[in-house]
């Protein structure tokens, strides 16, 4: 997998590159600023861009802006954004451009190498990887009353769906059978008024439903 990575802290940049290469990823270019990152993405056409949110010059949201810009230039480019802290406006800004091939993770998740590589592969494959922290915050701030109908367990399942996990992965994480996960998901669809006749991917629709709520907030 060809990766362009942008992180302004040289030590961390080196550490990340080291880890990715140890996982036999092809880090084709590293960058210290958003501008360098965009140039590298244009030059190398990577499978995934891994971007830090806070980079020079203002150390605020350069990475988010760069992610949106990179996806505008190359629609469908997979981008995984790493952030020092969860900021909903960042998440919503990022997700308004569509959730496919997008990831937004707290930086420290990288240390859980297996899960991180999972997320990276998912994003590269056109899936989603949203940090549990982000999902939790989205939940608490969502104003969609239908979400309040969900039981805590169904909430957990929806959260993991939003992180981009498949049923098997969710079952593994929650230590239940896949059948139980199926049951929860059907119940979620029912409570969110997503009928089987709708010609939409109900899974994505369910995730979008509360992301919508947050978007309205933002």
């Amino acid at each position: 997998m060809r990766i362009v990575m942008a992180e302004d802290d040289p030590l961390l940049r080196e550490g990340l590159a080291l880890l990715l290469r140890a996982e036999s990823m092809d880090v084709v270019a590293t960058a210290g600023t958003a501008e360098e990152a965009l140039a590298a993405i244009d030059a190398h056409e990577p499978d995934v861009a891994v971007l830090d949110v806070r980079m020079p010059p203002t150390h605020t949201d350069e990475g988010i802006v760069a992610a949106v810009e990179a996806r505008r230039r190359r629609p469908g480019l997979a981008v995984l954004v790493l952030s020092a802290y969860v900021e909903q406006t960042f998440a919503t800004e990022l997700l308004t451009s569509g959730v496919a091939g997008l990831g937004y993770l707290l930086k420290e998740r990288v240390g859980r190498v297996e899960e991180f590589m999972d997320a990276l592969r998912r994003v590269a494959g056109g899936g989603t990887a949203i940090d549990p922290e982000v999902v939790a915050q989205l939940f608490t701030s969502s104003r969609d009353s239908r979400l309040e109908r969900l039981s805590p367990r169904e909430g957990d399942v929806l959260a993991l769906m939003a992180e981009g996990m498949g049923n098997a992965a969710i079952a593994e994480r929650l230590v239940v059978t896949e059948g139980a996960v199926h049951k929860h998901i059907r119940s979620i669809f029912a409570k969110l008024d997503l009928s089987p006749t709708d010609r939409v991917d109900r899974r994505v629709a369910a995730v979008l439903r509360y992301l919508e709520g947050v978007r309205r907030l933002a």
Partner: protein
């Protein structure tokens, strides 16, 4: 006993010397002030005549055309006097720009006050200034009279009073006595005369009572805004150094640990190297946390006071640094912290940019103000860095932060650093909270 007496005499001697030096010093300052006042008084006289002429001419209409020019001259002179007074004491708070058109000027309190000042300064101010010029000349002339009175024609040997003529040695000695009298007058009365001369200006050239309050309110509001701004900047700096500094180090630790764990079974040597790097990253995180905490309030200030804390800074400075602190009492904690960071920033710049061989830090307090000065013998040019680098991460940005911090305390900051050096950083802070 004898030695004790000698010590007592010596003390009395040095006390006398100090009193004499103080008296002479204040007399010299007063004379300089009087002569300086004479300068504006000489200008005040023609302006006063102009005003009188304009007023008289206005009665027949022609003066109306002259009014704007006359008023402009008046305001310019008043501004000059304000600047002069600011050099000799607290700066008179300048009122807003007064009008230069006749009709609004007639109703303008500032203009009226300036006119009242003009009359006093052009008359009594002028006389006092002349005294300041003539008195020391007379004193010198009369005291040195015996040295030269034989050399000049007899009709030029009159006393400085112009009464009587010295024709014999006793006469000459009497003239010396007269000269000593002049000297006594100079020493004793000139400070009072200087105050008398400056008084109308200090009273009438400041903004009037009604304007005064609004000015002060505006000033306080600005200071408060600066304080809040400095506070917000400070919080942002702390937040940034936590997120981009310590936290990034810790993330690096977890990344390296994660990689090391994956490597542990296959490549133990490689894993060990990663662990080594993870450890050093963790140590860096600790160092960054220490520096962030220290940046909020240096613990050494609380432990050892300003003098001890500054001595610590000097000891850490790469350039040999002499610390001279004479501050009898403690100031507010935030003021001491600001003073400490100003010196720290000053010394950092000395070590990084100046190429100096030595630096001197002087701290004094008087009249409720804390004054610090950081000097070096380096190559200068720091002013350019301050103005040019304000937005970047260059040498100037630290000073910009310090300057904001000082402004928040209602203090003053000045930096003199011509190319070729030396560089002098001066900071003045009110001691109170």
């Amino acid at each position: 006993m004898t030695s004790g007496q000698t010590t007592g005499d010596a003390e009395r001697d040095s006390g006398l010397r100090q009193t004499a030096a103080r008296t002479a010093g204040s007399a010299a300052a007063a004379l300089a002030q009087l002569v300086g006042g004479l300068g504006t008084a000489f200008l005040a006289l023609p302006v006063l005549l102009c005003v009188a002429f304009t007023a008289a001419a206005s009665l027949v209409g022609a003066g109306l055309l002259l009014a704007p020019a006359t008023l402009r001259a008046l305001h310019a002179l008043a501004a000059r006097e304000r600047a002069r007074l600011a050099r000799w004491g607290p700066e008179p708070a300048a009122p807003d720009d007064p009008p230069t058109r006749l009709r609004p000027a007639l109703a303008d309190p500032t203009t009226r006050r300036e006119l009242r000042w003009l009359v006093r300064h052009a008359t009594s101010g002028l006389l006092l200034g002349l005294c300041g010029l003539v008195l020391p000349v007379a004193a010198v002339r009369d005291i040195s009279f015996p040295l030269w009175w034989r050399l000049v024609p007899a009709d030029a040997t009159s006393t400085s009073l112009g009464v009587g003529t010295a024709e014999s040695w006793p006469d000459a000695l009497a003239v010396v006595l007269l000269g000593l009298g002049w000297a006594a007058v100079v020493l004793g009365l000139t400070p009072g005369m200087a105050r008398l001369q400056a008084n109308p200006g200090r009273r009438l050239l400041t903004a009037g009572p009604e304007a005064d309050l609004s000015l002060r309110v505006a000033e306080l509001a600005a200071t408060r805004a600066a304080a809040l701004d400095a506070h917000a900047t400070e919080l942002r700096r702390i937040e940034r150094s936590l997120h981009d500094g310590a936290q990034n180090r810790l993330v690096t630790v977890t990344v390296l640990l994660g990689a090391a764990r994956r490597m542990a079974s296959g490549d133990p040597a490689g894993a060990d190297e990663l662990l080594e790097r993870a450890q050093s990253a963790a140590e860096q995180a600790l160092a960054e946390l220490r520096s962030v905490a220290r940046g909020i309030l240096p613990p050494v200030l609380a432990d050892r006071g300003l003098a001890g804390a500054l001595a610590g800074l000097a000891a850490d400075c790469a350039v040999p640094c002499r610390i001279d602190v004479d501050v009898p009492e403690r100031c507010a904690a935030s003021v001491e912290a600001t003073a400490y960071f100003a010196v720290a920033e000053g010394l950092t710049n000395v070590a990084k940019h100046s190429g100096a061989h030595q630096a001197v830090v002087t701290v004094r307090s008087s009249g409720g103000r804390l004054r610090l000065r950081v000097e070096d013998d380096g190559r200068g040019g720091a002013e350019a860095a301050l103005h040019g680098g304000a937005s970047g991460a260059g040498g100037g940005s630290g000073l910009t932060g310090i300057r904001r911090r000082i402004a928040a305390h209602d203090g003053d900051f000045s930096l003199s650093s011509p190319l070729g050096g030396p560089t002098t950083l001066e900071v003045e802070l009110p001691c109170g909270s």
